[in-house]
Each structure stands twice: as structure tokens, then as C-alpha cells.
Symmetry: none
Subunit: 128 residues, 4 copies
């Protein structure tokens, strides 16, 4: 099962929230390869947001090779494959690691604590 939760009004755009949650769900195998995702319109109705917003999120996931679209049938979980070069993966990670660590440090977490929190997060994901 897949239960998307969005919060509006915050600083994280809706389509980003969808991307993040879908990514986690898929990476954890909560939806198996080849399984269909909720339809654009269906999910839009369910979350009470515009279908275009869902479409945008799905487009990004397609571009990252996480899901695939089949005209007239729907979106499906794609087979996992290496898309980006090692260098590009590193580049993309560094783009997000900086702000993330800065935020954590400001909140008072040191390296060890932060690593602990990340481990906890992985455990939480595995369970849910």
C-alpha cells in the first residue's frame, strides 16, 4: 500500500513531497517493479490537488528512471538501473548534502548524532 501525505502552505512544494515519498516507497520495495502507481487524476482527486501537480512529480520520477509511463495505461515502477555517471551522482549528492548538514549543525547536532539520526531514519523506513 502507498499512503502519500502532503502538507500545503509549507516551504516544500507539493510536487517535491510527492517525489520524496514515492522515491522512498519505491526504493524500499513497498511497490514492486512493474506495479502500477496511482493514476494522475485519481491521486489528484484523493489529495485534493491539481492533476498537473501530480503529472509534474511523475515527470521528474520518469526522468530519474524510477518509474515509467505507458500512454493510456498508467505509470509503473521501473526496473532499477544505473542512469548517472559516478561523477554526476557525486555532484548531485553534494548539492544536497551541504544545506542538509548546515541545517543539522545549526540545530545543534554534531557528526556522531547526525549519523545516529540517519541510521534511525533508515530503520524507521524499513519498518513502515
Amino acid at each position: 500500500m502507498l499512503n502519500i501525505q502532503i502538507t500545503t502552505g509549507g516551504k516544500i512544494p507539493i510536487y517535491r513531497q510527492i517525489i520524496d515519498q514515492m522515491r522512498s516507497s519505491i526504493a524500499l520495495g513497498k511497490i514492486a517493479v512493474g506495479e502500477p502507481l496511482p493514476s494522475v487524476r485519481g491521486l489528484a482527486t484523493e489529495l485534493v490537488i491539481n492533476p498537473n501537480t501530480i503529472a509534474k512529480a511523475y515527470a521528474v520520477l520518469v526522468n530519474d528512471g524510477v518509474i515509467e509511463s505507458q500512454q493510456g495505461r498508467g505509470y509503473f515502477v521501473a526496473k532499477r538501473r544505473e542512469i548517472f555517471t559516478k561523477r554526476e551522482r557525486q555532484r548531485r549528492l553534494e548539492e544536497v548534502i551541504g544545506p542538509f548538514v548546515a541545517e543539522a549543525v545549526t540545530l545543534g547536532f554534531d557528526q556522531q548524532q547526525l549519523i545516529g539520526e540517519i541510521k534511525k531514519h533508515f530503520q524507521r523506513l524499513a519498518k513502515s
Copy 2:
């Protein structure tokens, strides 16, 4: 010493980069409490960016209680206050940890590798 490095062309806005790096530097004690920060104009000249951008970054830092402005003298590192409750800190961290881990996992980093990258990032921070 405080060495701000900004990269234009990425998706992180300049004022964000400044905030992130200042926060890290201060939280890590690289600038002591009461120490002066670079002047808005000076830093703007040095980084070759619009002074308004620096001003905005400083404004956010003042608002977050990380630095203080002293009329006519400049900006200084604020006395470290616990602004957030333990509960609030945890909530704030979880807000950013989810998207961060989702992105990393999609890029193909597993828990161990991710922790390795974070350690590397801390080392880089310590050196700069």
C-alpha cells in the same frame, strides 16, 4: 577565519549558501562569540555579488538568533542561545532528513555510503 565559497549556477540561491556556510562556521566555533562578521559591503565586493543579497542573508541569521547587529558597528556572532526545544530540534531535523535520504537513495547511495559521504563532508568543513 571565515572563508565563504559561493557557486553560482546551481539551484541553491546565493543568500542560502551564505546562510548555510555562516551557520556551519559559527556552530562549529570557527568564529567565536562576539567576533565581528565581514561587513555587508566588504563581503559583497569580495564575492562580487549584490549587497542586497548579503543583507538578506544577515537578516535571516539575525532573525534566527545566530548573529546580532550593532547599529553602526556591524554584525557579531550572538551569544549561543538554545532557541529550540529538544522536541523542536528533532522535528526540524526530521523535516529535512526525509527528502535528503530519499534523494540519496535514488542516486544509488546506501546507508553505509551515505554515512561515509557525511563524514567526508564534515572533514571538509573542519578544514576550510
Copy 3:
């Protein structure tokens, strides 16, 4: 200079036409690395189409690493870099080579003629 020409009503979507022409122009160095592209709104006005359509085209180009966006400043030609793995590049090429060759063969072009046409196309691009 950069002169985008679009035709509406055909089967190739407008945003695709923009992508194709921008790609060619950039690959050929008609716009140098670091140079700004036409603004979303400006180009939309010029081509008499909706700004969102331009934005969509630009988003794809950003994703392919061809251009970069700078919030509040505009879009710029990115430094050329290897984004995709060899395997992924091959996969993406094969996705377009099949229909292309099928169309050419149906039109009566054989291998040799088709290669000739491609060479001619490259020459035409280099000149313009």
C-alpha cells in the same frame, strides 16, 4: 544569435521543437557556455505562446545538463559534462534510432543514402 522557429498544429509538440533547436544551437556553440538564454517570458511573448510551455522546455534541458537556471537571473548555457552512463546513453539512443530508421526506410532511403543525408545535415548545422 538564436532564432527559434516553431510550427503549431503539427504532431511535434511546441516544447519539443524548442528543445531540439536549443540543443542544436548549444551543441554547435552558437551560444557560448555561460551565456544567457532568452527569458521565459520574453521568448513566450516573441513566439506568441504560453510561458509555461517555454518553462517546460527549459526544465527538460536543465535535466539533461544542457542549461542551468539561476533563480531571479535567468537561464544560462551549462558547461558540458557527462551525465549519463554509457549504457544509459546507448539505451536512449536506441529508443529514437528505431523509429527514425523505420521512417527513413519507408520513405525509400537505404543505408547509404541515409548516412549521406545525415552528413549533409551536420554540414548544414555547421554553416548556419
Copy 4:
């Protein structure tokens, strides 16, 4: 013999894949003029897809003059007619050559490599 291979999950619609492969096979003379094509139902069963999809593909091929339908008997390869003028053929090719080359160049293929890939594709076609 005619060996249709469809791949679901890509962005090319199924009926397009059928059209493309039939066109290539016929243009390359792998099925002689007057030869019968697989029945709509038979092919649908074999490929495990909706018969309507086959019917649509055949309809397009009939409309293009590539195949002919004989009431109650099935579909047959049409007598090769020159449907397009030389000028029209050229125009049609140029319509598809631009986007194709743009995509290839963005993927990092230069003229020589691209020609190599096209040769490889022709070899693959000849074998299948």
C-alpha cells in the same frame, strides 16, 4: 518471416512500434509483395496485446499504402507504389532528421559515432 518485437514500458506507443517494424520489414523486402500478414487476432494473441491496437496499426499502414486489406481474407503487402515525390520524401526526412540528430548530439554522440550506430541498427534489422 516476420518477427515483431514490442517493448512495453518505453515512450513509444505499441501501435507505433508495430507500424515501424512492419514498414521496415516490408521496405527491406523481408515480406514479398502479395504476401499475407498475420491476422489481427492472431498477432494480438501472440503479442498479448489488445486487438484494437493491431487494427489501428494496420489501418495506418493501409492508409499509407504499405499494405492492403482484402475483405474476409486478411491483409497483404501492397504493390510498391511511389507515393511521395522526391521533394516530398526529402521534406519528410528533414522533418525527423533534426530532432533525431539533436537528441544524439546531446547524448554525446558525434557524427562518426552516430553513423556507426545507424549501420549497426541496419545490421540488426537485416538479421532479425
